[in-house]
């Protein structure tokens, strides 16, 4: 049987689901094909950091746009997604690090971005009382925060379906090819046809791009996280250390999420990961040193998610440089959760109108063309 749609979205992560919602809002009827279930991979298991802080300038406009969407998330998807905005704080542990922060904020201000604010030791202590006395300051981005990733992705998926998206889970999209003006995709014994196809396949997006003649230097990685039992409230914003691999978030229920980019071994074909406990042990040691209140907390779970990391740590967003009707939206390089809600809106704009007011020039696939 052949299913006709206005667009075929490959991948039901936050990106595919968000694009589906926004296409529906523009009156189009997409089909979304997800091999496992929506949110099974990076989008459902990430740290939930909703962060504009410390982003590469090329993706700041997109991140700022996304922040606006986050602030109206309840109205958009009918669920608050567990989103809170207690800010995100980058901690400088010494004067040298604070100097780097100072010039970063000055540079952003020159470019017209004001979301990052330099803070001194006193303000740092006010925001994060548990931090060591010796830390001289840092940067805060006050509108930032965190959300529940699985809940968010599920909410976008549900909304997409309510608005008319054909959602297919548990089947993989294969044989993506163009026949005349139409793209054809096979999945679960059916053929899907549409003038547009969106490659939102996360860690698998690189393979799809390559199979269509647009290789991108992208690597598959698997960042790890661990979560502890409940401890008394001691920290509200998300905290990131400038000099070490550590990020830190305490949820309303008291549990603490510890991350920071140490990597597990990914098995891309089966979607599995194997944790590297020696690296998690390093994270545990850092937390032990910095936050004595955490020493008795138990580590309840640890996990990793599979994610695509490009050579320049920036996503691939926008129309293909080679084929009409093909759009890329992958390679989010460990920081694409916050970008999801806004990127979907930009993609829908690009697909429906051919244009977007949000600058994405540094993110297009052309940058890798040789």
């Amino acid at each position: 049987m052949t299913v006709r749609a206005d667009a075929i979205i490959v991948g039901g992560g936050i990106h595919g689901c968000s694009t589906a919602v926004h296409l529906c809002l523009r009156g189009l009827r997409p089909a979304l094909i997800e091999r496992d279930y929506a949110g099974r991979h990076a989008s459902g298991v990430n740290a939930g950091g909703v962060r504009q802080l410390a982003r590469h300038v090329a993706e700041i406009p997109l991140s700022v746009r996304s922040m606006d969407v986050w602030e109206g998330i309840q109205d958009l998807v009918g669920d608050d997604c567990g989103f809170d905005s207690h800010g995100q704080v980058l901690v400088a542990e010494n004067d040298e690090e604070l100097e780097v922060c100072r010039s970063r904020v000055a540079d952003l201000n020159l470019r017209g971005f004001i979301h990052e604010e330099l803070i001194d030791a006193k303000e740092l202590r006010r925001l994060v009382p548990a931090v060591a006395e010796t830390c001289p300051g840092g940067i805060v981005s006050r509108r930032d925060g965190a959300a529940n990733p699985a809940r968010t992705t599920t909410a976008f998926r549900r909304r997409a379906e309510q608005l008319g998206t054909i959602v297919r889970e548990g089947i993989a999209a294969t044989n993506i090819c163009k026949d005349g003006k139409l793209w054809r995709v096979e999945a679960g014994g059916e053929t899907y046809e549409a003038p547009v196809v969106v490659n939102a396949a996360g860690a698998w997006g690189g393979r799809i791009a390559a199979s269509l003649g647009e290789p991108v230097p992208v690597q598959t990685v698997a960042p790890m996280l661990m979560i502890t039992s409940r401890v008394p409230e001691f920290i509200k914003p998300v905290v990131i250390l400038r000099g070490r691999k550590l990020s830190f978030k305490q949820f309303a229920n008291g549990t603490v999420l510890i991350g920071g980019g140490h990597l597990a071994t990914p098995y891309q074909d089966t979607g599995e990961t194997i944790l590297d406990w020696r690296r998690l042990q390093e994270s545990a040691r850092t937390v032990w040193e910095l936050f004595p209140v955490m020493r008795n907390a138990t580590v309840v779970r640890a996990w990793a998610g599979i994610e695509a990391r490009t050579a320049d740590d920036l996503p691939v967003i926008g129309p293909s440089a080679k084929h009409d009707g093909l759009f890329h939206q992958f390679g989010f390089s460990l920081h694409g959760f916050q970008l999801g809600p806004g990127t979907g809106a930009v993609m829908a704009e690009l697909i429906a109108t051919g244009n977007t007011n949000t600058p994405i020039d540094g993110l297009r696939i052309e940058r890798f063309a040789t």
């Binding site: 599920t154 998926r157 502890t228 944790l275 406990w277 008795n296 138990t298 779970r301 640890a302």
Partner: protein, 473 residues
């Protein structure tokens, strides 16, 4: 400070769990010359059935039964075998590279083995009735643990409810020790007797037949037993005060201080699943069981499972499965040494004998649906206080399996790591969606399979004075 830790970083064989299966496996492997490490989280060897066999304050043989004391022989055997035995060592991580994360003596450590035998035994099946989370309601197994390790017995108004071979054993053990039991509520479904009948002949020749019958008779001679119980609810203000039940269409309430629940045991799958071992839904035992070859080998190269973790078979079967898995490891790593130990056929014959009649028990004691799949505001997930209705509501708006459910409700994400709710969630969702449990699946489990403190993981001390000592030192 005595440091309780493995002596090496690498072993030929690591056996996890020192119950009947693990003791038998470690002893046979070490006798055959494999460099063997036996790890167990309890303070002493013995597992569930022989818990505290080397240290129990209960010295009178008759009270715990001959089977209990049989454990000491196997413990002596493994102690003489040359295996390195580490008690108080919790294995919280195992991966497909056979790297093992251990926490012992307040710190954590990693070792690697050429082969791993998981002998982590069974857990009690959840028994989610209304009020099961009230103080004063506990599992019969927890009561047995207190009895074996500390000689503690119930002395208030006590009701014991449930079914299964262990149910009768435990009840008998408490009574023999002078513990108080006012009422036994037997939940065995009446029609199960008919269903089990075709398997009775095999059971008559089982080693468990005579003992089982004697035990049931012993209990009935001492306490009032109500059979055919179809509903149980616990209630009380802040703690258990009353047990209500229904039998033969009649509803009765009795006052109670303690309610002990038990409806059988199921494989403890957490460590195996987290290592990536493939499991299947067992429609007879109504639980997840690992997919195994004839030697207990799993889908993960180098990992075998023996004992009740491989599917419930009881202590005698556990011993033989342990020996089979160990012999397979010996054949793989030291083929010449295999000649010294009894042949695989010997062990397989012994296993067949030990397993005789098991199907009779499985069918007779298949727990009934109303005690496995609760409804309404009965709690399913104790850690996050999620009710059966909450789960049904999530299914109605799109949750398709236990992992998807986490996005709606935090089921399975608390400290019990699904041990107390996993089976209930699978069966409840299967029923609600009209799908077989196999299709619904189970939580994707990840290490640490047992919570460890941050200090343990960091292998750094946790209190102020110890911290100062480190800083000064």
């Amino acid at each position: 400070m005595t440091i309780n830790r493995p002596m090496r970083d690498e072993y030929d064989l690591a056996v996890i769990g020192a119950g009947p299966a693990g003791l038998a496996a470690a002893s046979l492997a070490a006798q055959s010359g494999l460099l063997t490490l036996l790890l167990d989280e309890n303070q002493g060897p013995g597992g569930q059935v022989w818990r505290a066999v080397t240290s129990t304050p209960v010295k009178e043989t008759r009270l715990l039964g001959d089977d209990y004391w049989a454990g000491s022989k196997l413990v002596e055997e493994v102690r003489a075998s040359g295996a390195e035995i580490l008690q108080g060592a919790t294995v919280w991580s195992l991966d497909r590279h056979l790297e093992i994360g251990i926490s012992a003596g307040g710190g954590s450590q990693f070792i690697r083995a050429e082969r791993v035998i998981l002998a982590t035994g069974a857990l009690e099946r959840p028994f989610p009735i209304p009020g099961w989370t009230l103080p004063g309601v506990m599992t019969a197994g927890a009561a047995q643990t207190a009895l074996k390790s500390s000689g503690l017995i119930p002395d208030g108004k006590t009701v014991v409810a449930g079914q299964g071979p262990l149910f009768w054993l435990l009840t008998a053990q408490i009574l023999r020790m002078g513990g108080r039991i006012d009422l036994v509520l037997d939940t065995t479904e009446r029609r199960n007797y008919l269903r089990a009948l075709p398997h009775a002949a095999a059971f008559l020749t089982s080693p468990y037949f005579r003992k089982g019958l004697a035990m049931m008779r012993e209990v009935r001679s001492k306490v009032r037993v109500v059979s055919g119980v179809t509903r149980i609810a616990a209630s009380g203000n802040g703690r258990l005060e009353e047990v209500a039940y229904e039998a033969g269409g009649r509803s009765v309430s009795v006052p109670a201080d303690l309610l002990l629940l038990h409806q059988g045991v199921v494989p403890n799958v957490n460590l195996a699943m987290s290592a990536g071992v493939k499991h299947r839904w067992d429609d007879i035992q109504l639980c997840w069981s690992p997919v195994l070859d004839a030697n207990g080998g799993t889908s993960v190269e180098g990992i075998a499972i023996a004992g009740d973790g491989a599917g419930i078979g009881g202590a005698l079967a556990a011993v033989e499965r342990g020996r089979i898995a160990a012999r397979a490891a010996v054949e793989a790593l030291r083929p010449q040494a295999g000649a010294k130990v009894p042949s695989m056929e010997t062990f397989r014959a012994a296993l067949a004998k030990a397993e005789r009649g098991r199907i009779f028990l499985d069918v007779l004691f298949r727990p009934s649906k109303q005690f496995r799949i609760p409804g309404g505001d009965t709690i399913v997930c104790r850690c996050e206080e999620v009710t059966a209705q909450d789960i049904l509501d999530s299914v109605a708006i799109g949750a398709t399996g236990p992992n998807q459910l986490k996005a709606y409700r935090r089921t399975g994400m608390g400290p019990c790591q699904g041990r107390l709710c996993g089976l209930t969630v699978t069966e409840l969702m299967a029923e609600a969606r009209g799908k077989p449990p196999e299709e619904i699946g189970y939580y994707r489990l990840r290490a640490p399979v047992k919570p460890i403190t941050l200090s343990e993981l960091a292998s750094l001390p946790k209190n102020e004075s110890a911290t100062k000592a480190v800083v000064r030192g």
